[in-house]
């Protein structure tokens, strides 16, 4: 690679980093502006202020934001966990066993993944009200499975197919019991795949807006994205921009931390499930 070409690719790389981080930088900057500064028409605040953060963590907006944060964590973690356990069994069966209906299961997962969420929300809204699941945690956990299960089944079976299952028999030949063989050989090989799937499922559920806004009505179950979406409507504050920006930064932190720690695996998971299968 010539020097000129090398410089070109470096410049292009920097452009990518700016492209990816600019809006994030802007929302962080906005969250640090004082109310006097919000309308300064500039990217950066003239002086740093924690006003917005204190408003959503201990101030007026805390009763809106904090329950939503708790709901989001609880609901998303539970539905991620359920999706992972169920799809782990399914993926094991798909990768390991020969049975009729594998194709049916995988195509169903694909079909569920392309369902428009709003088309499901409409009837669920009605049904949930009738059976008392409206505005409850299970009322969101169940529909979140429609988001997390298909993706989990696809990515996990992709991972599981790569596992050299013969190694288990080899270990047994070497004198290990079948449980030992499974535990010592297969589990360590399968863990990264399960883990990656869990992170992707977490992202998807954490991102949901349509279910959150349609199937909840109070702080009892409303997750953060939905609470943020409604912040703007409520004219409780003079200008909600600052507090919303601060809340936006707070909900972004967990996902950014996950991305930074597990970036290699996340890319593997995304492309495995989708392109390499």
């Amino acid at each position: 690679m010539g020097t000129r070409e090398r410089v070109l690719w470096i410049v292009a790389g920097i452009a990518i980093v700016i492209y990816a981080l600019f809006p994030v930088g802007w929302i962080v900057s906005l969250s640090l502006k004082s109310s006097a500064d919000i309308a300064n028409g500039q990217f950066l605040p003239t002086s740093l202020s924690w006003e917005n953060y204190s408003q959503i963590l201990v101030g007026d907006a805390a009763e809106l934001f904090l329950p939503a944060l708790r709901n989001s964590f609880g609901i998303v973690l539970i539905s991620t966990f359920i999706a992972c356990v169920l799809s782990m069994f399914a993926a094991y069966a798909i990768a390991r066993l020969d049975f009729r209906g594998k194709r049916l299961i995988l195509s169903t997962a694909l079909a569920v993944a392309i369902f428009p969420v709003i088309s499901i929300v409409t009837p669920l809204y009605n049904l949930w009200r009738q059976i008392g699941l409206y505005d409850t945690w299970p009322g969101l956990i169940i529909p979140y499975l429609s988001l997390t299960l298909p993706l989990s089944i696809w990515t996990m079976s992709a991972f599981f197919r790569e596992i050299p299952w013969e190694m288990e028999q080899a270990a047994q030949v070497d004198g290990a019991t079948s449980w030992q063989a499974f535990r010592k050989v297969i589990v360590p090989l399968a863990t990264p795949g399960v883990f990656t799937t869990a992170i992707l499922a977490f992202f998807i559920a954490w991102n949901d807006f349509a279910y959150g806004i349609s199937l909840t009505s109070t702080g009892a179950a409303r997750p953060v994205p939905a609470a943020l979406g409604l912040f703007s409507g409520a004219s409780q504050f003079e200008s909600p921009n600052g507090p919303i920006a601060a809340a936006a930064v707070i909900v972004t932190i967990p996902v950014v931390v996950l991305v930074l720690i597990f970036q290699r695996r996340i890319v593997a998971g995304l492309t495995n499930g989708a392109v390499k299968g």
Partner: protein
């Protein structure tokens, strides 16, 4: 998967010659397979098939939640009402517009990003990968707010930064008109979802054999020729998958519109219309009909893609 099923040793498929003793094994494998995979399968059906069936059912009734005692069967009347209403066609047009614009831009931009990541020096590749994952991981609502605030009159910096452009002034109200609102909505969508396309294309790029590239180079093919004759044809599957999934996704756009305009200025999308009819106006019958129409549109897109581009989804997704 296809091949495993055909050449698998378990003999689960009736066609395969089952040796002595294998049929018991095959039967127990069959049972175990469904025991393990069944729960996930049943849940997926319950959370989607049942609600859709319900939506189809309710779409045939005049049913308002504000007036629950007056449910009456109206047949296909709800569909007739919707399909003859300008509101449906406006929202349909807006949805198609957003889908076409964002997917087209994302494909080109995503490909460019993938090329840069492919060619970047080894040392900065992890940095690029981490950076590009950030928009993917940021929740759509947050991204929508970020872009809205950047363009809004009371908090934005865009107007003061770009006032040198013709048509942009300090007091340009981006959310005061259909096209300018759609422009910002598309920007936000493009920023948020290009990484997805880009990573899929990167995986596709990585699968193009180096030997072919080398051979073309030796034959004196220019960069463009290599790109069109070698690289792109070899990553067709990845491109199709990326296109299909992004198109389906873009057609369901909801969050961004909700946050940015709330459907004002004729920016309502089909998803938003379904939401507004059911959840905001409590018109279960009409709302269900919109949901069913949205669902059908998505199915048509999917079938169109598979037929038109001859993608075997299972192959494209690389089932082994």
């Amino acid at each position: 998967m296809t091949t495993t099923e055909r050449t698998g040793t378990g003999g689960a498929t009736p066609a395969s010659p089952a040796g002595p003793g294998t049929s018991d094994k095959a039967r127990s494998e069959q049972r175990l397979g469904w025991m393990l995979a069944g729960p996930a399968f049943v849940i997926m059906l319950l959370v989607t098939a049942y609600p859709i069936a319900q939506a189809v059912y309710y779409s045939l009734f005049n049913y308002r939640l504000t007036d629950p005692d007056n449910i009456s069967f109206v047949g296909l009347n709800n569909y007739a009402v919707i399909l003859t209403d300008q509101i449906w066609w406006t929202s349909f047009g807006v949805t198609v517009f957003i889908t076409v614009v964002t997917v087209a831009v994302e494909l080109v931009l995503g490909f460019a990003l993938a090329l840069v990541m492919m060619n970047a020096l080894k040392a900065i590749r992890p940095v690029l990968r981490a950076a590009i994952l950030i928009p993917y991981a940021v929740i759509t609502v947050v991204s929508a707010f970020a872009w809205q605030y950047a363009f809004s009159l009371d908090s934005g910096f865009v107007n003061s930064w770009f006032s040198w452009l013709p048509g942009v002034a300090v007091d340009t109200d981006w959310f005061g008109g259909t096209w300018s609102s759609l422009f910002v909505i598309c920007l936000a969508e493009i920023w948020k979802t290009t990484p997805f396309i880009s990573l899929l294309l990167l995986a596709g790029l990585a699968q193009v054999p180096d030997v072919l590239q080398e051979a073309a180079r030796v034959d004196g093919a220019s960069w463009w020729q290599r790109m069109w004759k070698v690289t792109i044809p070899n990553m067709k599957a990845a491109i199709m998958v990326a296109l299909l999934f992004r198109t389906l996704d873009a057609f369901r756009v909801f969050d961004t519109v909700f946050v940015m305009t709330g459907g004002a200025e004729n920016t309502e999308t089909v998803s938003f219309l379904a939401y507004r009819q059911t959840i905001a106006r409590l018109e279960i019958g009409l709302g269900s009909a919109v949901s069913v129409l949205l669902f059908l549109s998505v199915v048509v897109i999917c079938v169109g893609f598979i037929k038109g581009f001859k993608v075997d989804l299972s192959q494209a997704r690389g089932e082994k």
